[in-house]
Every structure is written in structure tokens, then in C-alpha cells.
Amino acid sequence: MADVAFRGATKRFEGRPAVDHLDLEVADGELLVLLGPSGCGKTTALRMVAGLEEPDEGEILIGGRVVNDVEPKDRDVAMVFQSYALYPHLNVERNIEFPLRRRGIDAQLRRQTVHEVAASLGLQELLARKPRELSGGQRQRVALARAIVRQPRAFLMDEPLSNLDAALRMQTRADIVALQARLGTTTLYVTHDQVEAMTMGHRIAVMDCGVLQQVGAPHVLYDRPANLFVARFLGNPGMNVLPATLDHPGAHFARVDGGHVPLGDDGAGATGQAASLVVGVRPEHLALSPSGSLEATVLLVELLGADVHVLCQLGGDTKLVVRQDASAPRPAIGDGVRIVAATGSVHVFTGESGARLGGPG
């Protein structure tokens, strides 16, 4: 096992930075999720650790050693590709065994190791099959087995669940978490799915446009997003974001379209002399209430089983989502409603850079 670190790592494609001065450390045995939208540079960062991309600037360290000039095969990391990258002409057993053949391990031991790993992932019955004869979930497990069999210093996983259906994804998510906990291998996991990130990662590193936005434990990112991007990206639906004005610096209420929201002490104290403000409220911190301070019209009501999402329009173009229990009375589309934000639930960001000024947490 080993820790992995980026030190000012930068990678440009045709002059445009895909990863821009990334500073990030993954502790030994940690499962760190690189999260972000398509094109944010998370896969490029992962590929730099694998040695499949060479950084234009900065350093990549594995186990405290700079590996910029080390060949991929000598980095002792295993990668699970989004496409699984199974060799189509080899059966499952040969696929899993493939990395061991180059290590001078004798055939008997190789076979034993392959069977042990296959057993741990429930692949014993499939060893003679070719990849085309497997389901998506089975292929995914074979790809994992091929990574595990080498006992590498770090696992690199590039959206390994994105080709699975929702039910299988949930199951496999739990399997990977359990496996990582059992093996204790440092894991860098790339995904654009914030649910995967929240449920799997010891820590999450959110990236956008090649730049690291925030890194921390899932609940920290959710409760105290460093900026508007993180606030919007985490959570389903993401945080409601409303342009706001203050009557005077340090005011305890922010005016927004359709009314006002309470800032709480943390929020009010942080506004300072900011010229323009944006406030954010999670949908679960809003409620429909006749005494609410926001006036809105219901645009859409979505029943999701246990929850209901009510999409409302405030004045102007501002929209927000209220999450309420399915057992609560449901408004009809077009109804005029009033919304209340829980005290101490409103996050405050600058209007210019989107950086967090204050709020709960």
C-alpha cells in the first residue's frame, strides 16, 4: 500500500489545461473519490497517476517517490477502466491471470491466486467463459479481479460502474466499498455521480474545469460547500441558489425574489461589505408553510416514493425546489404557495466568485 499525491500537477491538451495545478494527497489505505462533470479533468488526473498521461508541470508521487518518469508497468498500480478493458480472446481465468504472467510467478501459484481471487468475487463458475459471454456486472467483477490479483499499491478506478443498471450499480458500489475496506488498498475512484461519491468515498475531491474546488469528507462538502459549484453539484437535487441583496451590512435577512430568507448569525456575520451576494438553501431545509417568507407558484410536483420534490417559481426567473415528505399535503401545479427556510440553514456566497462567505456547519 502507498499514499498518492499530486503536487502542482498540470496537464494541457492543445494548450488548454485539462488539470490545472492540482495539489491533492490520498492517504495510505484511503478511498478518495474524484468527482466532477464530464471534462473536468478527473480522468486525466487518474491517468497521470497510472502513467498513461505525462504531467506538463508538477509531480506525481506514489509512496513518497516522484514517479513522473516511471513507466506505467513499474508504478505498481492497477486500473479498472470504464470499459473494463477485458481481453476479448482470453477467458475469465486467463484475463485475471494476465498481470501475473509477467511477474515470473510459477504456474501453480498463479492458478491458486487466480482461483482465490475469483472465489472472493464469486467468479468461480465463470472462469472458462469469454468476456462476450458475461453480463455487464460479471465483466465488472472480472475487471476488479484482474486489478486485485496483482496486489498493487493503489487501485485506480475510472467510472467502473457507469455501464451498469441502477440496481446493479448500488450492489456493486457496496461490494467495492467492502472490498476496499477488506484489502485496505489506497484507492482513487473517479466518477461524475455524486451519489457514488457520497456513499463510497472516505473523502471527496470535487473538480471543475481542471481545478480542484474542494476536498473533504462527504458530509463536510455537503454541509459546508466551499463555493457555488460544489453546492450545486452535491445533492440531488442540488442546493437552491438565489441572488440576494442586503438592506445593510450585517443584516439578518437577505432579500431574494419573492421575499426574504433568514441568514442566521453565521451568515449575517460573514456578509461583510460584499457587493453582491448569492444565498443557497438545500431543498430539505425548505418547507411549504402559510407563514413562509417566500411567495411562489408551483410549477411541478414530482413524487419519488418517500419524498416529493416541488419545483416552484419565485418572482422573475428564479426557481427553487422544496423537498417534503410524501405524507405531507401536496400542492397542485399552479397553486400559489409560501415557503419557509429553516433558521440557520442558509449558506452565503459571493456573487462574483461564488466563494463561500458563511452559513451553517
Binding site: 508504478r75 477502466f81 481481453y87
Partner: protein
């Protein structure tokens, strides 16, 4: 369901079934005509090789030999030295096929997977060689072979054909079908380019390799002009196509014997096509059907 609508749907089904039968019949009729057009010359050659000389001049020629002259084959084999010529052709063809497979695999892989300066320009040069007819280079190649002292040797017969633009193009396209992820996964697993080529890329490009093998076998086996130019008298390295031509100029100058020799010479090609037809079809239809 009402009886009327049941009847209507039954009628529709029966109309569809009859349309399908007609389409199938038409398709088979077309395929049969195509097969007859392709196979007729082979069959006529075979039949003619078994006819007595007197019957060869008959018009129309007999479609079935009532008194097959099998001994013509023995005459062609022994007096025409076909055994030696066939051996020479086998050696020449073997060297050319192996050479083309090796050079095409290496060059195709380089163009598909390696990054090097002028890669695109070099590939265009490779493709450009496809536009130059062999006859244009005949004189220069003959001079080169003579100066190298390769006249009347297998080296002279084969070396100019060891690399081919078609083969390189074919293999490059086949290698480009291999997902880049496989190369990257293999590189993380400790496999360099050569090992990846041998263990992953070549097995995955088998249909293209088979197609190239068959095409280069056909081309090499049927060569006439080049072996004629770079080989001298005697049958030291002369190939079977020249042997067939010589068969008509010797004391056994008989059309029926020459035809028997032709059938013998064409047999290896037929065997190859039958053995490789599955791979060949797969290669030709690769990418055509998803």
C-alpha cells in the same frame, strides 16, 4: 378477436409468407447464377484435362468425360517436372506470405499504436505505393536484383515482395479497431509493445491476418512476369506458372496435359480458399455488420 379480423390477419400472414418465399427463391437463383459463372471455367478446365485430345476440339465441348484420361496427370507431373516447380512455388510463396505478414503486422502496429514524427506522412507514402503498378518498377528491380547477385535465387524471387502497402493498410485498420484501453491495461500489467502485439493485437486481428495471408498467397502463387524475368533456364528456382508455360513447349506439348498441369497448379489455391473461407468472409465483412 372477431372472426373477420382473424381471417384478415391470417391472410396477411400468408401473403407475407409467400413474399418471403419468393424473395428467398430469387436470392438463391441469383447466387446459383453467380456460382455457375465463377465455377464454370474451373469445371471446364477440369473436364477438358480428362478428355482425349480428339475430344478437345469438339464444339460444344463435352460437359462430362465419358473416358477420363487420368494418365495425363501422371504425364504432366513426371515429364513436366511439376513436382519441382510446385516445390519452388511453395518456397517462394511461403517466404513472401510470411514476409508480408511479419512486415505488415509490424508496420500496421506502428501506424496504429506508436506516436512518432511524420507518422501521417509516412503512412501516405505507404498508401502511395499502392498506386504504382508493378510493371513500372520492373526494370529498376531487375537491375537491383542483378547487382545484388540474386539472379536465379529465391532471394531475387521474393525480397521485392516482402513488404506491401495493402497489407500494412489492412493490418493498421484492424489494429485501430482494438480499443486503446486494452493497450493501456496491458501496459499497466507490464506488457510492452512487442508482448502486447503478440499476445493481444495479433490474436485479435486474426481475420485480417487470414485475409492478408490468402491474398498474398494468391498473388505470389500466380506470379508469372517477375519469376520469368529473374530466373534463368533450368528449373532450379523456376515456379509452377513458368513450368506450365514450359509444359506447352516440350515434347509433351499437348493441350490436355497442359490442362492437367493447370489443375494440379490450382489445387493448392482451392484448398487454401476452402480452409480459410470462414476467416476470409469474417475479415471482408468486418465492420459491415454491427
Amino acid at each position: 378477436m372477431q372472426p373477420d379480423s382473424r381471417n384478415a390477419s391470417g391472410e396477411r400472414r400468408s401473403r407475407r409468407g409467400s413474399r418471403r418465399r419468393w424473395r428467398l427463391t430469387a436470392r438463391y437463383a441469383l447466387l446459383t447464377i453467380g456460382a455457375v459463372v465463377v465455377l464454370a471455367p474451373l469445371y471446364l478446365t477440369f473436364v477438358s484435362s480428362l478428355l482425349p485430345p480428339s475430344a478437345l476440339a469438339e464444339r460444344p465441348p463435352p460437359f462430362f468425360p465419358l473416358d477420363p484420361q487420368w494418365h495425363d496427370y501422371a504425364v504432366a507431373w513426371s515429364q513436366g517436372d511439376l513436382g519441382v516447380y510446385l516445390r519452388n512455388s511453395a518456397i517462394q510463396t511461403g517466404i513472401i506470405v510470411c514476409g508480408q505478414l511479419v512486415t505488415s503486422v509490424l508496420a500496421g502496429y506502428a501506424f496504429a499504436f506508436l506516436r512518432f514524427p511524420l507518422r501521417r506522412a509516412l503512412f501516405v507514402v505507404f498508401l502511395a505505393t499502392l498506386m504504382i503498378p508493378f510493371e513500372v518498377t520492373l526494370v529498376t528491380n531487375t537491375q537491383t536484383i542483378s547487382e545484388l547477385g540474386w539472379y536465379n535465387t529465391f532471394a531475387g524471387l521474393t525480397v521485392p515482395f516482402l513488404a506491401t502497402g495493402v497489407g500494412t493498410f489492412l493490418l493498421r485498420q484492424a489494429f485501430l479497431q482494438i480499443p486503446r484501453d486494452l493497450r493501456e491495461a496491458a501496459s499497466l500489467d507490464g506488457y510492452g509493445h512487442l508482448r502486447f502485439l503478440l499476445r493481444i493485437a495479433v490474436p485479435l486481428a486474426r481475420p485480417a491476418l487470414a485475409a492478408l495471408g490468402v491474398f498474398s498467397f494468391l498473388a505470389a502463387w500466380n506470379q508469372y512476369l517477375w519469376p520469368l524475368v529473374v530466373t534463368g533456364s533450368g528449373n532450379g528456382v523456376r515456379t509452377v506458372q513458368i513450368g506450365l508455360k514450359l509444359l506447352q513447349g516440350t515434347e509433351v506439348s499437348r493441350t490436355d496435359v497442359a490442362l492437367a498441369g493447370t489443375v494440379i497448379a490450382v489445387l493448392p489455391l482451392l484448398v487454401l480458399l476452402v480452409v480459410c473461407q470462414k476467416q476470409l468472409v469474417r475479415s471482408l465483412t468486418a465492420g459491415a455488420v454491427k
